[in-house]
Amino acid sequence: MTRITIGPFNRVEGDLEVRLDVESGRVMRAEVTAPLYRGFEQILEGRPPLDALALAPRICGICSVSQSVAAAAALREAMAIEAAPNGLLATNIAHAAENAADHLTHFYIFFMPDFAREAYAGHGWHAATRERFAATRGSAARDALPARARLLETMGIIAGKWPHSLAFQPGGTTRAIDLGERVRLLSITTAFRSFLERIVFADSLENVLTIASADELDRWRDGRGGDFAHFLRLADGLALSVLGRGTGLMMSYGAYHGSDGELFPRGLFGPRAAIEPLPLTQITEDVSHAWMRESSVDPAHSSTVPDPDKPAAYSWCKAPRLSGQPIEVGAIARQTVAGQALIADLVSVSGTNVRNRVIARLIETARIALAMEQWTRALRLSEPFCHNSRDIPNGSYVGLVEAARGSLGHWMAVRDGRIERYQIIAPTTWNFSPRDSFDVGGPLEQALVGTDVGDAGARAVAIQHIVRSFDPCMVCTAH
């Protein structure tokens, strides 16, 4: 058995170390380390509750709005107020812009450049893939980065700036949108749709969303241009649908809340491969392999105290579990729980894997691009965007949202106008969790086991694909 260490594991948000025990070219065991701890939960303790709106987004520069929206949701529960419907719509538009920008950044900047590596030089497709996707040099970035920047102009209208805005409040958003601005928002979403239809899909979004099965996807792909079809051909050639298989358990807290429910519903894709209610009270955090002191396993009652010399620990990340099980989160979980036809079919055929995770992100991008147009049209321009309250009684509150990378929760306890405890479980805390006290690894640790690395060892590109297929956000992970 050889132990190999891979790090700095880059082209992820933040830093990551992966250690693999390899025997006869096959991964027998994996350990995933979050090598950075900043202590946001400790920093928030003792502060006025509303300070979470300024500090929590700064956990993460790539999913800053998600962190804001989670903090605002916990505070909204604390204030026992309803957000202004316009504020919910404006939040959804900005949140969708961030999530779509993140999906694009993942696909074009983090994930696809691995197929341009020299390791694939013998493949017939390599020259074209390298021209299109090579890191920092490929032609795709010249399309994707300006499209991303244009999409993020949504923030200039709704949120002042991105990342790190204070526009997302418990009662709504801080800026009323006028008629000219609504038209500007529509112009941004239209430009984004155009980018997706010309460059990513080479088809209309409506058409893309009629693809309902793995077979239909194969037929749709044949002979089609665009970067999505390019990826699908690579995925077939490299059998990415059998790489990085997940355990099959997935959840979503529900995404894009509106006055009449959510765009993507809350739920658990459980052991019977059916969608069930999500038992929120069964969320726990285990610190047996984290450099953290023991505390309550219930995030509503635990606190975070580092223990850097703890034996058996190997990550700053705690191990969240639902009913004792590790859970995969992200676009694939959201779209499976939402019953999106294509993703549900792909998951029923081949489970979660490198290919299906990437497909789910792009299909979701198409769905939220259409939703952004609808939300923008639904704004009632003469009505308020924010309801105000500053009264926060003692109690325990929770804000649950879906970030680009999956389920994000903030648990906040308030006492005498101060934050008594603050706990954050981020998407990659779930996906890249270390082992728990039963020695059960997190979703990535399990997905890596069995991977064939051949003689390549630490340079095996399969490992790069598996890890990045989760789109980890390591700065959120341990926070």
């Binding site: 006025p48 980065l145 991303r148 102009e153 850097p308």
Partner: protein, 338 residues
């Protein structure tokens, strides 16, 4: 001449960071950031978020700089330097190297032509240094307002400058890019930096300059609740009259800014900004905001404020506490003779 001799070699590392500075700079450039760098002859040796090289390939690049095989022109750090626990830097290890970012920065910085702290974390400690500062986070050459930090107050880069602090949380993409590109032409001298190491082209302005709420400020017609249109200084925590930055003279994300977005400037370009509490409420003493403009006698400010309040037009007063314009500007009606 080899490629790397003709070009400016840039190495970007991330410490105790949220990655937001990178997310911001990726908005730069009409045909994308990578193209813009190339157009100015910048060779990105390695950047953790965008470079192909990973694992040992990345470590080789850092090692080649340490061994003098590759000339390092600009070294950028995003994120604070976590020195803890007990000065080991273990709260922030560079994966795969068994060494802390703290150690890597101490070793790499002397090789760099210039060192740039990207964002308020790398400059002064920033948000990770808030509250109990659990990781002993500091900036490269400042700990809050105190000189020192990870590299020490006496540090000078190979070309003789202290660390250049592109403060902000996150900084405007232009602040970062203009600093980088100016340095490719060695166009920043010590005299171009203010007392906190910030480029003066940003720091010679106040966030207040160009604020779209200017008329409300003139009359001290103040918003009282979030989303109202009035001035945010009197009640809602705005520090734009004290914080440096040309924030309201540029457009953020195509036209925004914090105050345009409807919330207070929290002075994110200032060392120690994270230490404040109640960011969205104005601290007051005897009903008067504590943080008045620093270079104006307080008595004059209070007197002028009282005078302008009493002179406030009805339109400005009513719009200040509304989230939509409720009284539009009056029209000068010129009667035309038949």
């Amino acid at each position: 001449m080899s490629r790397s001799d003709a070009m400016t070699n840039v190495l970007w590392l991330q410490g105790a960071s949220c990655g937001g500075c990178t997310m911001s700079i990726l908005e730069s450039g009409a045909s994308g950031w990578f193209d813009e760098l190339r157009q100015f002859g910048v060779n990105l040796l390695w950047h953790p978020s965008v470079s192909e090289e990973t694992g040992e390939e990345a470590v080789d690049i850092l090692q080649s700089v340490l061994e003098g095989r590759v000339r390092l022109d600009l070294l950028l750090l995003e994120g604070s330097v976590a020195r803890g626990p007990n000065d080991t830097g273990r709260f922030n290890m560079l994966a795969g190297t068994n060494r802390s970012i703290y150690r890597w920065m101490l070793d790499l910085a002397p090789h760099a032509g210039y060192v740039i702290a990207v964002g308020s974390c790398a400059a002064y400690g920033g948000v990770p240094a808030a509250g109990s500062n659990p990781t002993d986070a500091v900036g490269l050459q400042f700990e809050g307002t105190d000189g020192g930090g990870a590299l020490g107050a006496a540090f000078r880069s190979r070309l003789g400058l202290p660390v250049i602090n592109v403060a902000g949380c996150a900084p405007h993409p232009g602040w970062m890019m203009e600093t980088i590109l100016a340095l490719t032409a060695r166009d920043i001298a010590a005299s171009d930096l203010d007392g906190y190491g910030r480029p003066k082209f940003v720091a010679n302005h106040l966030a207040h300059h160009g604020c779209s709420r200017n008329e409300f400020y003139e009359f001290k017609a103040s918003a009282e609740s979030m989303s109202e249109r009035g001035c945010l200084m009197e009640h809602l925590g705005c520090k734009a009259t004290q914080a440096v930055g040309d924030c309201n003279q540029r457009s953020w994300n195509g036209g925004g800014s914090c105050t345009k977005g409807g919330y207070a400037c929290i002075a994110c370009t200032s060392p120690g900004f994270e230490g404040a509490q109640n960011f969205l409420a104005t601290a007051k003493l005897a009903g008067i905001p504590v943080g008045l403009p620093t270079d104006m006698p307080k008595a004059w400010f209070v007197a002028l404020a009282a005078l302008s309040k009493s002179a406030t037009p009805r339109r400005v007063r009513l719009n200040a506490t509304a989230d939509h314009v409720v009284v539009p500007p009056g029209r000068t009606t010129t009667k035309t003779k038949p």
